[in-house]
């Protein structure tokens, strides 16, 4: 993980990196910011696009409020943004669909049995009590949400049948973040990120 110096409007260290996957690269930027996380997220998308050679930045176009904006003049380039509390994660990729999700503590929402029943596969529900720390469930959520955003299905995706890998040991962190890409056979690959200084 590469740390770059904080710059406005960020107030905390911001990590930026490259994830080589499926024969391409996913470029991501992840950090905690001082305010206006949504505005920062879009500024970071522009930053990532402008930083890539051969990718023109001609702004974003939004067809409607219900559809994710697309990059103008960048055919085949996808991006995803996520923010939670003061945490922001964005990703840009060429030739592959990408999804990003970040969740910042507190993770009290995951105490809900109703939510766990809706978001876990039967195998995950059986395994979850054995996972430590308890916020493994947040880790599972970020992976599923990132996959759902990569496929474009969003909440239409049934998380109860969406199995993702979640390593059984994981140090609890105040921010959980995950990237996902989808291959030609609709098989997801995920990568979790951590802010070491958070």
């Amino acid at each position: 993980m590469t740390f770059v110096s904080a710059h406005r409007p960020s107030v905390a260290p911001v990590a930026e990196g490259r994830w080589p996957v499926l024969g391409t690269d996913v470029w991501w930027r992840f950090g905690r910011v001082g305010g206006e996380p949504r505005r920062v997220a879009y500024a970071w998308v522009e930053h990532l696009v402008r930083s890539r050679e051969g990718l023109p930045w001609r702004g974003l176009h939004r067809e409607s409020a219900a559809v994710k904006p697309r990059l103008v003049g960048s055919e085949g380039v996808d991006f995803s943004i996520s923010h939670s509390g003061d945490a922001v994660l964005v990703a840009v990729a060429r030739g592959v669909r990408v999804g990003a999700d970040v969740e910042a503590a507190p993770f009290a929402a995951f105490d809900s049995k109703a939510l766990r029943r809706r978001m876990l596969t039967p195998a995950e529900a059986e395994e979850l009590p054995r996972l430590r720390p308890e916020d493994a469930r947040t880790r599972l959520w970020t992976a599923k949400e990132a996959v759902a955003k990569a496929t474009g299905e969003g909440l239409a995706s049934d998380f109860r049948t969406l199995a993702v890998s979640a390593p059984p040991t994981w140090r609890g962190r105040p921010v959980e973040a995950c990237l996902a890409v989808i291959d030609d056979h609709a098989h997801p690959t995920t990568r979790h990120l951590a802010l070491e200084t958070s």
């Binding site: 009290a108 929402a109 909440l155 998380f159």
Partner: protein
């Protein structure tokens, strides 16, 4: 997090369902309780994907209705959600 009580007996009215929805969303505590009303824009109630899915589970626990999270995209406020749920409840 508390579990909503299962409501049996007679079918709930749209008003009952609306009160229950307001109560649940206030319990989620994502925005000020006063701003959670039947007519407030759904997008301003702090219902991100986590809480939409939680609400689906709570509806299932309480009213026995299996609701798809995408159901909420068809509505702009909790009043509309309550009326649609009432239609579903009385149809079962």
């Amino acid at each position: 997090m508390s579990t909503p009580e299962t409501i049996a007996a007679s079918a709930p009215s749209p008003s009952d369902l609306g009160d229950w929805l307001v109560d649940r969303v206030r319990f989620y505590d994502q925005v000020d309780a006063e701003s959670v009303t039947l007519d407030a824009p759904l997008k301003e109630l702090g219902l991100d994907s986590i809480y939409i899915m939680t609400l689906c589970g709570d509806i299932e626990d309480t009213y026995g209705l299996e609701i798809d999270p995408a159901f909420f995209a068809d509505h702009t406020d909790l009043r509309g959600v309550a009326e649609a749920l009432h239609t579903r409840v009385t149809a079962t």
